[in-house]
């Protein structure tokens, strides 16, 4: 290992005589083992403590509360998907308007795994019913000018709106998961809305029948 060589026999020209006592040559080699040991110990420590996962952020834009009904955004009923979050990581949804009558209702229950397909299918459905018109053409050209690689899709899904309604039992994780689902499926328009009493009751009833804890 690393060592420093002493000059060996004195090259300085000292004469060796019978009276000159030969100094005992001590080794100049230093035992590096403890230093290396410590070095590795520190490496292990820093490797373990190094936090490689940097936190990331998810942007959330909330609309201003508009009290005036005239200024509120109107949504086409056929393109709306309402997603509700309940306790026990349960997801409830309905398409269009909530209808509860004798013939049954369109209130359905699923999980976070299932909701992705629901969103994908609804998006496909809305796009397939899309009618191309002048305003749509303009939107497409605008995004084409902006060099958006997906300019062709720019307005096809304009009627697709997802309404997210977490109830009081939903966790923050559920909320972030569903917002993430919007990114994953590229839903352009979504809104977080306060849940209605009628919907809470339906969730409670479904929870009771499914025995969700």
């Amino acid at each position: 290992m690393a060592s420093i060589d002493s000059g060996g026999e004195g090259g300085g020209g000292h004469k060796k005589g019978p009276g000159v006592k030969k100094a005992k040559k001590l080794s100049t080699r230093v035992d590096m083992t403890p230093m290396v040991d410590l070095g590795f110990l520190l490496i292990t420590f820093f490797v373990f403590t190094a936090t490689m996962t940097t936190p990331t952020t998810l942007d959330l834009n909330m609309p201003k509360d508009i009290k005036d009904e005239k200024e509120q955004t109107e949504a086409k009923e056929s393109g709306v998907l309402t997603i509700m979050l309940g306790k026990g990581n349960q997801v409830y949804y309905y398409e269009g308007k909530l209808t509860v009558d004798a013939s049954g209702n369109n209130f359905k229950q699923t999980t976070f795994k299932g909701i992705r397909d629901v969103i994908i299918n609804k998006k496909k459905d809305v796009i397939s019913r899309h009618v191309h018109d002048e305003t749509c053409k303009k939107t497409q050209e605008k995004s084409k000018d902006k060099k958006d690689p997906l300019w062709e899709d720019a307005c096809k899904d304009r009627d697709f709106i997802v309404v997210i309604k977490p109830d009081t039992e939903a966790t923050y994780r559920n909320t972030v998961d569903i917002l993430d689902e919007m990114t994953i499926n590229q839903v352009r328009t979504y809104a977080m809305v306060k849940i209605l009493d009628q919907e809470v009751e339906l969730i409670k009833a479904t929870e009771a029948t499914n025995n969700v804890k």
Binding site: A50, T51, P55, T56, D59, D180
Partner: protein
């Protein structure tokens, strides 16, 4: 009889390059390691597919822990006077009667998680001992007494025209009403853009987001 002599090879290997590299790695880790600031509570953030970086300065962090307690902290490494401005604003608007020493302790306080009434006690405690205090969280759920509103209002005043980001760091287990109350406190301050702190998740293959990322590349 002449015997074949096998040359004796030394079993000692030269370890110098190995040790060199080891120390190189060691110095890298020492320099690259940034220790996490002490947190009042441990937060397990939910995952998200977005890989945006978190702003580290000029931001207000609102932390919600797993038992729905709300904490408020300011991230301003460059300009420490912001801390003074905020606590002075809170002191005068809420008539708390804090001493200058208590107010200057706000700089060292990592996060405030007490109602205004408990602020004097919290800031009267040295920063190192604050961990032992039981913090009940800033009251937010009662919309008439949403104290977070005042904290945000004072931070907005302190930062003036500078860019100020609002980070919401929630524990995955916290309940939605608390999050909603935090958002409503921000909304009342005319703030509509927030950053939710998340950890990175993989993008599911074949999803529309995945396709878009590939097309951009």
């Amino acid at each position: 009889m002449p015997s074949v002599k096998i040359a004796k090879k030394s079993t000692d290997t030269d370890m110098t390059p190995f040790v060199d590299i080891a120390f190189l790695i060691l110095s890298f880790f020492i320099m690259a390691t940034k220790f996490k600031p002490p947190e009042p509570v441990e937060i397990k953030t939910p995952g998200s597919v977005l890989s945006q970086k978190l702003p580290e300065s000029n931001a207000v962090m609102i932390t919600v822990d797993s038992s729905n307690r709300v904490f408020f902290s300011v991230l301003s490494d460059k300009d420490k006077t912001k801390y003074d401005l905020i606590i002075q604003g809170i002191n005068s608007s809420q008539n708390l009667g804090l001493t200058p020493a208590e107010m200057s302790n706000f700089k060292q306080t990592y996060a405030v998680g007490v109602p205004f009434g408990g602020l004097k006690q919290l800031l009267g405690t040295a920063a190192a001992d604050q961990g032992r205090l039981k913090q009940t969280g800033i009251p937010v759920l009662d919309s008439a007494n949403n104290q977070l509103y005042w904290w945000i209002a004072e931070s907005k005043k302190a930062f003036g025209g500078e860019e100020l980001k609002f980070l919401i760091k929630g524990d995955g287990q916290s309940k939605y009403p608390t999050f909603e109350a935090v958002v409503s406190a921000l909304k009342r301050n005319e703030e509509f853009k927030y950053n939710l702190v998340t950890s990175l998740d993989d993008v599911p293959a074949g999803s529309d987001f995945d396709k878009m990322n590939k097309r951009i590349k």
